[in-house]
Symmetry: C2
Subunit: 423 residues, 2 copies
């Protein structure tokens, strides 16, 4: 049987070379369709969603406990572990292959199991157990440091020694398409004597990838590089919405709290770690050398192109304001997970780890408006006469990402969010 990542594979379903969802991808999501059935698990293929619950009921897909694909989240499936993930993906690939007649020639089953993407609604693909946000792009941390502390003290002393991160708020992680209300909070501009309470004036996005943890690890135990890697089920694109003015006043000494708690948007399709395997590469050289528990024998970065586009209410089309790549990250997702468990912190199925804002070395690769507008001093032009320093009400923000193969791409779809006015 050919490997599901084989670039030569073709599906009996037509997939355009620019589609995010060729047979080499097979990302998982939670959807409902016009048939009125409850949200359940499907896989994206071209312009269709393959209904895994239909296949499971038809005894075409056996992963163990019946009904795992009837659920409105991936958690139960993820809990079954990497061997099941791999076998399931291989079986789905087989069922979709152009040279495999089982589903291709079963018109009745195809009608039941393949739902046009245009007819589905997508939901949060998994229940978020814990949400952790890292800060692992050296370019991003340096940009922010230069802005607020000057060139000579840009990076904090600990930054090069460990993946700095903080616990975020899991209750407000939402799926692409969810409208985001402008947050309110305490604001104290440097010129004000005392703080006031009101709508955030410096609303920003942060372009990140999110790791979806698919296996638990016990309290009190550390993880090796290999263990951590095998716990990663897949990835989503993540927009870590940020209220810069709320953050500035609240964050000393315990870190960001309400500034990040109002919304975090993720893309609806979880692209598996296995599907990204052909695009693995080494990250930037790490100097000083990491401590032993953080050393990587494997390449744990990915060549994954990322774009951010902003559409002001009045514009017809979004304007691309950032084009960068996940490969620039200094600390890898595997290192983040190893560090996360290093004190004895238990990890759970459904934990979500944000990579931190993904900026690159070039100006067009900056992953937040804070950096793009250099703290509001360099407005970005979206269209003739339309500029932005931070996000305004009615603005829509779209992030896209994909790995480019030879004649196909393994993509994530998009994560979109539109800002509505504060109450």
């Amino acid at each position: 049987m050919p490997h599901p990542n084989d670039p030569k594979l073709r599906s009996f379903i037509d997939v355009a070379p620019t589609s995010d969802f060729p047979i080499q991808n097979l990302p998982y999501g939670v959807f409902s369709s016009k048939d009125g059935l409850a949200p359940r698990i499907g896989v994206a293929i071209g312009d269709f969603v393959l209904d895994l619950w239909e296949l499971e009921q038809d005894s075409r897909l056996d992963v163990g406990p019946l009904g795992v694909f009837s659920q409105p989240s991936l958690n139960a499936f993820m809990a079954l572990g990497p061997k099941v993930w791999s076998a399931t993906r291989a079986r789905i690939s087989e069922l979709l292959r152009s040279d495999h007649p089982e589903l291709r020639d079963n018109r009745e089953l195809r009608a039941r199991a393949l739902v046009p993407m245009a007819d589905v609604r997508l939901y949060m693909p998994f229940a978020v157990s814990g949400y952790t946000d890292f800060y692992s792009s050296k370019e991003h941390a340096t940009n922010v440091g230069v802005m607020f502390r000057g060139k000579d003290n840009a990076l904090q002393p600990n930054w090069l020694h460990m993946p700095i991160g903080y616990n975020g708020r899991a209750s407000t992680v939402v799926v692409s398409g969810t409208k985001v209300r402008r947050p309110r909070g305490q604001l104290k501009p440097p010129t004000a004597e005392v703080p006031s309470f009101g709508a955030c004036k410096r609303l920003d996005f942060e372009l990140e990838m999110g790791v979806v943890v698919g296996q638990a690890s016990p309290m009190g135990e550390m993880l090796t590089e290999k263990q951590a890697e095998e716990m990663i089920f897949g990835f989503v694109i993540l927009n870590d919405w940020s209220a810069r003015d709320i953050q500035q006043w609240e964050y000393v000494p315990l870190g960001p709290f309400q500034a990040k708690a109002f919304a975090t948007s993720i893309s609806p399709w979880v692209v598996t770690r296995e599907a990204l395997e052909p695009f693995r590469m080494r990250g930037p050289a790490q100097q000083p050398e990491p401590l032993a528990y953080l050393k990587q024998a494997q390449p744990n970065n990915y060549d994954l192109q990322l774009d951010v586009a902003l559409r002001a209410g009045a514009m017809n089309e979004a304007k691309t304001i950032c084009s960068t790549n996940f490969k620039y990250m200094y600390w890898s997702s595997v290192q983040q997970l190893v560090h996360h468990a290093s004190s004895g912190c238990a990890m759970n199925v459904g934990d979500l780890l944000g990579s931190g804002t993904i900026s690159g070395p070039e100006k067009h690769q900056r992953g937040s408006l804070l950096e793009i507008s250099w703290n509001g001093t360099e407005p970005v032009e979206l269209a003739s006469g339309v500029t932005r320093t931070f996000i305004e009400d009615g603005d829509s923000l779209v992030m896209r990402g994909w790995c480019q193969g030879d004649g196909y791409r393994v993509g994530f779809g998009e994560v979109e969010g539109t800002i509505v006015a504060a109450e």
Copy 2:
């Protein structure tokens, strides 16, 4: 019908005046007994646990959906809301009253429903959705500030304007009695050139109360004082174990992460907000006056005595090292919850909010070893020849808390944790 808080109420079960669990308390927990049944919900009364699932099956307790008390967590019961909480407590009080024959005279039901406390095992009383830790004792924040920044800059500029807090790690909240492994992490003493990885050398406790949130609030909406109060189901005692050396190196700029992620211990019995009602009082005057959204019309503090005792491995009895009171807290739990939701952050059933270390104005009221030993410079004597600056392997830490009524106390039992060596 008398109010369940009536000090004159007596149960047909003998309860000593120094017991934490008179009929005026009725805290909820999750227990199993020698009968081999799965963990389920009970109420503490004197030296017994009242099995609510037995009462529910016997049609003595009707809260709506059957089986709510058969579950291994309080979350489903809490989701039913404050009217059900109140009605259920009134009914349990009635069933336990000395002048109510229904349970008192039903020997067969009593045998099934009343389990000696000595025969039960206690579990986490609820599933923690999100764990947030505040920093709301002015005395504690001032002590820490004086130690690390000097007297003149002790309080950060934002501290008097809002309840400062951060998101903690829900996955390692554990019930009293759970052994805690000494965490490992990156350590960089001021004299070291570079960090090393190893066992924490400055392990500490923090005496806190934990608010158990029993109702959800939607994303994008703020809470009033009244709404926040009604969302609070009850309280537990909370030990926020802290690795001071790990924290010191990691926490700038995003706050505590691995230093607090290895364990947080809570007491097994959730004392309801209603049971604490007679002990409500005004907190310290707040100056400057809080912003409008944080103003309190009601007294939201509690007169709740708290003790911490430490037992080194070789000692027979624990030595009390702190006696303080929850009433000293500058920011109340209601203000913390209002602030938490103020940006639009959704709250969930099962959210746990740590109050922050509860120190008082006197030296014997300091709620952490960091303060008691003044950053390790003033060792505390536990017994002849036995001193501590921080916690050592084999040490056992016990926290107790109670509100003193006239001839009875509404208490929490204890939260105990023993430290085992790092691997």
